[in-house]
């Protein structure tokens, strides 16, 4: 006797004959819910070729064509639910928010450069000059436009602040340890680059150390260039503020701690304040000038 579980129901077979079946009605929603809730075991390859035949035999559908159209409707319904669930994940929101911040930063840089050029132009044309030039119609509209341009940049940086507050809020909720060690924004960037907190938690520290340095990493792997010391974590004040000769060691230590923090966050969500103190202590030790006694 064999029991086979398919998307449209459970069928019991004895000597290749259907003896019992529990097949749902052609209700798309109910079938999609079943796909989500039930556990399905592997089934024998010989039954896999008989799905259509069995469904028709059990009067679930009158023809192969109807089999496909029902299956398709159920699959589309289920896929939509899965997609909605994936987008509802807090990681997705954090990734989009930090992406927004990075885009705004880039835009502000661009626009600020342009504003500087406009400033210079205005300064030059407002100098005393002959009459024909002061009647340039541009002179009346130009400062107003420039003012509005500057205001847009101002508004963007206000928006950036709001987004950054939102990230801080979300990061405290889903990754308290990573936030305390890396800072909310850097933590969020690491999550974004890893593709989610779970993937970050599964990464080895050595990989976290070079997230964001893939160009240098592949140059190293492909052509034997020097390996990168740090990727995104260079943004951390403890790395950036350390002397060049110590940065590699410090980046390595920090990456190790960040890996622990990400795992604590993903698997327990409890804050461990001692982690930050440990990391700072270790970095202070590394930053101490080496004495002759240390070397020997």
């Amino acid at each position: 006797m064999t029991i086979i579980k398919t998307w449209f129901g459970e069928i019991e077979l004895r000597d290749d004959k259907i003896v019992c079946s529990n097949v749902l009605k052609t209700d798309t929603a109910a079938l999609a819910v079943r796909l989500q809730k039930e556990e399905f075991a592997d089934l024998d390859k010989q039954f896999r070729g008989r799905f259509r035949e069995i469904a028709i035999h059990l009067h679930l559908v009158p023809s192969e064509r109807d089999y496909i159209s029902l299956l398709r409707a159920v699959a589309i319904q289920r896929a939509k639910e899965q997609i909605t669930a994936a987008f509802a994940h807090p990681d997705t929101r954090i990734i989009q928010l930090i992406g927004g911040i990075d885009d705004i930063d880039e835009s502000i840089n661009f626009l600020s450069e342009r504003l500087l050029e406009w400033d210079i132009l205005e300064f030059e044309i407002s100098r005393p000059r002959d009459i024909t030039e002061t009647h340039d119609p541009q002179s009346t509209t130009y400062p107003a436009l420039k003012h509005e341009f500057a205001e847009s940049i101002e508004r963007l940086s206000e928006l950036r602040k709001k987004i950054s507050n939102a990230i801080e809020f979300e990061m405290h909720a889903i990754a308290p340890n990573l936030s305390s060690l890396a800072g909310e924004l850097l933590g969020a960037r690491l999550i974004a680059r890893a593709g989610g907190l779970e993937s970050l938690a599964r990464m080895p520290a050595s990989r976290i150390q070079v997230i964001g340095a893939s160009k240098a990493l592949f140059k190293h792997l492909q052509f034997g260039a020097k390996p990168p010391k740090h990727g995104l974590i260079f943004q951390h004040p403890l790395v950036r503020g350390s002397p060049l000769s110590k940065r590699g060691k410090i980046a390595r230590t920090m990456a190790a701690k960040l890996a622990i923090a990400a795992r604590l966050d993903f698997y327990s969500k409890k804050a461990h304040p001692e982690l930050l103190a440990q990391m700072e202590k270790r970095v202070r030790e590394l930053n101490k000038p080496q004495t002759r006694a240390d070397i020997t």
Partner: protein
């Protein structure tokens, strides 16, 4: 313009342009009832442009792993009877689902081909098409072929050398991957997809 049929039924050559018959779905160019199929946007189109002997037939059921937003799926659906399209990433799966709503013979599945959990949905298939740029793509192809491919069915595996080993020469990577596939499948041919795709090759195999 001259229109001729390709050796694969359902595929047409409009002068040197590849096309299938159907409604335009993603903004591709259209000539009457023909939708042009850009070999730089689809590895299958690149393969069909380079090689006419591809074992695709109108009555086949296809399992497509790595469907992405469904550009290739939409053309394949014009050629074969049914496509089970598997895609894991929610962002592109969203586009795939929208496309499936307009194609009567595409069944979209949001799932991970590495751990196939669609065994209770997908029936036996005649053709396994795989386009997932993963280091272990050969293993993924074999796993899925063992579960879903009919005896005597075909598999087409698109190998992206750069996703498997950036440090090795593409030809060496193809060789290694073909060797892995050979353990379970009979290799029929290997085609590099230059000039349409750099460091990509299509392997066509058969399950004995």
């Amino acid at each position: 313009m001259t229109i001729r049929t390709h050796k694969v039924a359902g595929v047409f050559m409009l002068d040197s342009h590849l096309a299938t018959k159907g409604d335009a779905l993603y903004g591709e160019k259209v000539f009457g009832e023909y939708r042009l199929w850009n070999p730089q946007r689809s590895k299958l189109a690149a393969l069909l442009k380079k090689e006419e002997n591809v074992p695709l037939r109108p009555e086949q059921i296809v399992l497509y792993l790595g469907a992405a937003s469904g550009t290739t799926v939409s053309h394949l659906a014009n050629i074969v009877s049914l496509v089970y399209a598997v895609e894991f990433a929610p962002r592109v799966a969203r586009d795939l689902v929208r496309l499936s709503e307009r194609l009567k013979n595409v069944v979209p599945l949001v799932a991970d081909a590495v751990r196939p959990d669609y065994g209770h949905i997908v029936e036996l298939v005649d053709f396994l098409y795989q386009d997932i740029a993963q280091p272990n793509q050969a293993e993924i192809a074999i796993t899925n072929a063992e579960i879903f491919l009919k005896t005597g069915g075909y598999a087409c595996v698109m190998i992206k050398a750069r996703s498997i080993d950036v440090t090795a020469k593409p030809k060496a990577v193809y060789k290694r991957e073909v060797k892995k596939l050979k353990e379970q499948l009979d290799i029929m041919c290997v085609h590099e997809l230059e000039p349409f795709y750099k460091a990509h090759a299509a392997v066509i195999a058969r399950l004995a």
